[in-house]
């Protein structure tokens, strides 16, 4: 895929895989809107891309908040143009250390679903309609092997990612043959703040670097059919 001149929106872009995806997209020539809650880290990520000659804008917002969705989608499109590629990367584990489901507060499950499932649905809905009428676009949802495996203590996160995977499959089925693709990606274990929060005792030297994973995701995106679940480990 030729990313030159394309407009991309990446959520959770202030650190980890989201930041690496935004940097790699910009390196390949895309104009990138970076979205995250934390203003300072997000502006730092965008400034880094601009310093390397890329086009990047920091759009501060929380995808888990209903009122933020049109502000995010509108600002991003105003700044980089109608969105060609949407990366639904922002997610939350819920409180850490991770807890058994029976110890999980209902409100914490709701917040995880708001950020990892409902927010991505809202943002996809705000962006993919325009893609459909233009006849092209790709929506990439970042998933996890926890969507498939029932790891104890990962309940809220797992359930949100399993539902997100299925949301992607249904979007793909409904928009078949329209030029708009929906794909989910399991990036595997990476050396990120989120991984450290979930598994503080893990050997970080054995974890993949987000920038390598971001490259693999973009490389494999060309070959991915709509509805596919990519595994980049």
């Amino acid at each position: 895929m030729d990313w030159r001149g394309k407009a991309a929106l990446v959520t959770g872009a202030s650190r980890g895989l989201g930041r690496a995806l935004a940097e790699e997209l910009a390196r390949r020539g895309a104009r990138v809107a970076l979205v995250a809650r934390g203003e300072a880290a997000l502006e730092g990520a965008a400034a880094g891309i601009r310093a390397s000659g890329g086009v990047a804008h920091a759009v501060v917002g929380d995808v888990g908040e209903k009122r933020a969705i049109h502000a995010i989608a509108g600002a991003a499109a105003a700044l980089v143009g109608p969105i060609d590629a949407l990366f639904l990367n922002a997610s939350t584990l819920g409180p850490t250390p991770l807890r058994l489901l029976l110890d999980t507060d209902c409100e914490d499950l709701e917040r995880v679903l708001a950020v990892n499932l409902v927010g991505p649905f809202r943002l996809a809905k705000a962006v993919a309609g325009s893609m459909l009428l233009r006849g092209s676009g790709v929506v990439v949802a970042v998933s996890s092997d926890a969507a498939l495996e029932a790891y104890p203590r990962w309940g809220a996160y797992s359930a949100s990612k399993a539902a997100l995977d299925h949301l992607v499959r249904v979007f793909a089925a409904e928009l078949a043959e329209t030029g708009v693709r929906f794909v989910s990606v399991d990036p595997g274990d990476m050396d990120t703040d989120m991984h450290a929060a979930a598994l503080p005792d893990a050997d970080r030297s054995r974890l993949a670097r987000p920038e390598d994973v971001a490259r693999r995701i973009l490389d494999s995106l060309d070959r991915a059919s709509s509805g596919a679940r990519l595994v980049t480990t």
């Binding site: 759009v59 009122r67 969705i69 995010i72 600002a75 325009s130 006849g135």
Partner: protein
Amino acid sequence: MRAATAPRSPERLLLVDPARGTFDDATPRGLVRLLGPGDLLVVNDAATLPASLAGAVRGEPVEVRLLDGEGERFRAVLLGAGDWRTRTEHRPPPPPVTRGDEIELRASLPPPAERGEGRGGGRGCAEALKARVEGVSELSPRLVRLVFDRSGAELYRALYAVGRPIQYAHVASPLELWSVQTGYAARPWAVEMPSAGRPLSFELVLELRRRGVAFATLTHAAGLSATGDPAIDAALPLPERYEIPEPTIAAVERADRVIAVGTSVVRALEGAFARHGVLRPGRGETDLVLREGFEPRVVDALLTGMHEKDASHFALLQAFAPRALLESAYAHAEEAGYLGHEFGDATLILGAAA
């Protein structure tokens, strides 16, 4: 015509056929048998900006209604005290402003945290948004050019935090931003919803595609439909900018029949054609006014909403169908209980030569 008083999808479609001199009742769903291969629907994909900003100038309340802008520069209309519950023509005039005046803008609603809605999300700004008056129009002292104190992502963050969608006195409750977006909205260039696309549910879009109907987009900065200032209203629509993407030009050239979804699409396509004598991709600005006697050169048919017969919208329809036919069709629609305005029912005017 009775106004729809809450957000809803159009339920009825008034079909006007100038070639036959007839009109008929249909539904949006009925578009699947009215349209087919060779037909192209062109939509305005402008998202709606929350363009109503409450603020104060020298301590006196003022409402700023943005018209259009790029970077940190916007044109705007100023209204005096009060809110959307009062029709614009009954609102008091704004405090007089001159070049150099500063308008301080604040959220018209408390931030979400104070309303018990949790974290700030896209709203909430550290400091008030400010706009300086850079120029006052000779047309009216209420039509101004503004320069905001920030640009880019910072300006959009502030506009979405402070702004509310333009409201309508005939709508029962305040409109939320999501109620004034089309499903295919992209860049927030419009200050009022390009509402003609409301009949196009995605169920209908996909069904039309399966039947060989093509779709294309353009972006047109649809401005205010009314300001309450007779001098400005007489000059509406003011020049508006548009962008026509290259694939849309190719689609128009391939199509047997071009159906504009909304008068803003007509204005962009016909304005571009009138300026260049040919359709070219890219950005432009048009001051074209559509009215009786205007002969469309690109657009063959128009899918649009329903508005009052004395509104400029009705005059504009006369570029597509004779006044007498439109008056009969509208009289029938009124009798049959069609609803009008932004959330009202729809009209499809087929081409005179179709």
